[in-house]
Symmetry: C2
Subunit: 232 residues, 2 copies
DNA sequence: ACAAAAGTGTTACGGTTACACCCATGC
DNA sequence: GCATGGGTGTAACCGTAACACTTTTGT
């Protein structure tokens, strides 16, 4: 009656991940598209019976970005009774000509563990999974309508990221190893969606004693070259 | 092969709850004891297939405390592969002469959603569930060795509570509807495990514009009677 | 009157903001 | 030299800390 996957994965439980990137100007997230269905979704997946939750999420993010050891934070588990939609799942599977009988377990009610990831945009090579047809960056301010409760998950992820950015010093994960103070400020501004005062920001960051100053970055611009910094 | 409960609950997923109370002096949590096994555990349970995660936790907390509509915050999902221990579960079931064949699903690997609750200590009438023999308050500084990873869950709950107490104004849930400024300060001190300055604390709380002042509380003590406050 | 605890006024301190100024770089 | 943007010095501002003082209650 039920297929092989029913033995492989923990039933009724999934993870979803809001993968944040920063293109030098705006904050973006990765969104999957299932062609022929008009459905958009967050990258996510299931947890194998013999792997930890964290392993499953790490693996899923690595598969879709090509980056290992990304910064990951689990922020909330979504457990409403009707948050999943068997019809949506069915149409995705049908569009891919999958055997519905074998995938019956996917149509059940699911509780999902929400995560967000911060990655260096430049290093990413987005790869769709075997059900979705494309994966692409979307401006956080311009996220399309997503399936099920995925928009709610994105909103919550952004809220948690905003609360964490100042105190937990995680902005570095969105930047290359060496960056200018201006770039760091732009990351903060993109996340908080507000402009910050240049001098105050610089002094605050320096006073935290978490930055190491390196050589200057000569861009060939007609002004003083900024220092490069890295996190200690 | 598998019993009726296997149909009733979502497999491999549970919730656990760190229930905080304040006895006027110290911060305490509720802990279950399984007699004849020497095992202590957090109150927890399983999620029925046709109920939301939140409903399940609310119901579980209400059953063990007798209080409805308690303050509940979900703080982390614990998903390590070997966090559960089938031997411990087996000995608990055996001590209660349960049919092990019917409870086979309980011996599988479980992922658990960690919550904490804040309740008014005075109103509580602790009731054990049908597997544990007793439930009692333990000083947060004197928690016994708990089964599986429950000590880790307690530590994390306390950490999150400490981070949230100042900004999220949740201390009220540990107190009766009307309380004195001193009581409120004692709650903060018990949670943060540090002494606070009386005058600064008072001014900070009042400046937040979240307290309503009521009549004075005459205790018959030889000093000025304190005002009673409630949260707006 | 006195002791004890609550409530408030005043000053000091530390971190952030605002603004000015100087520095380095390419045209 | 000048325009542009980076880096730093200084004073104002604001919230909290520290401490003194007043108020209220029962003995």
């Amino acid at each position: 009656m039920k297929g092989a996957n029913n033995k492989k994965f923990i039933p009724n439980l999934s993870y979803d991940c809001v993968i944040f990137g920063f293109n030098g100007e705006k904050l973006k997230i990765l969104i999957l598209e299932y062609h022929n269905t008009g459905l958009f979704a967050l990258p996510g997946g299931y947890i194998k019976k013999e792997e930890s939750l964290q392993e499953a999420v790490n693996k899923g993010v690595e598969e879709r970005t090509g980056i290992k050891d990304v910064f990951l934070d689990q922020f909330q588990t979504f457990g409403k009774l009707n948050r999943t939609d068997p019809d949506a799942t069915r149409s995705i599977l049908q569009a891919k000509n999958k055997d519905l009988n074998e995938k019956q377990w996917m149509m059940e009610r699911f509780i999902t563990v929400g995560h967000y990831a911060l990655i260096n945009y430049e290093n990413v090579n987005p790869k769709p999974d075997n059900l979705s047809d494309s994966i692409a960056w979307y401006d956080i301010k311009n996220v399309p309508q997503l399936m099920m409760d995925h928009n709610e998950i994105v909103d919550k992820a952004l809220e948690v990221l905003r609360n964490n950015i100042s105190e937990k010093l995680i902005g570095m994960n969105l930047l290359p190893a060496k960056f200018t103070m201006k770039q760091l400020q732009q990351v903060f501004e993109a996340i908080l969606d507000e402009t910050l005062r240049r001098t105050s920001f610089q002094r605050k960051m320096l006073s935290m004693d978490i930055l190491e100053r390196h050589e200057k970055l000569f861009e060939g611009k007609a002004h003083k070259a900024p220092y490069l910094y890295s996190f200690k």
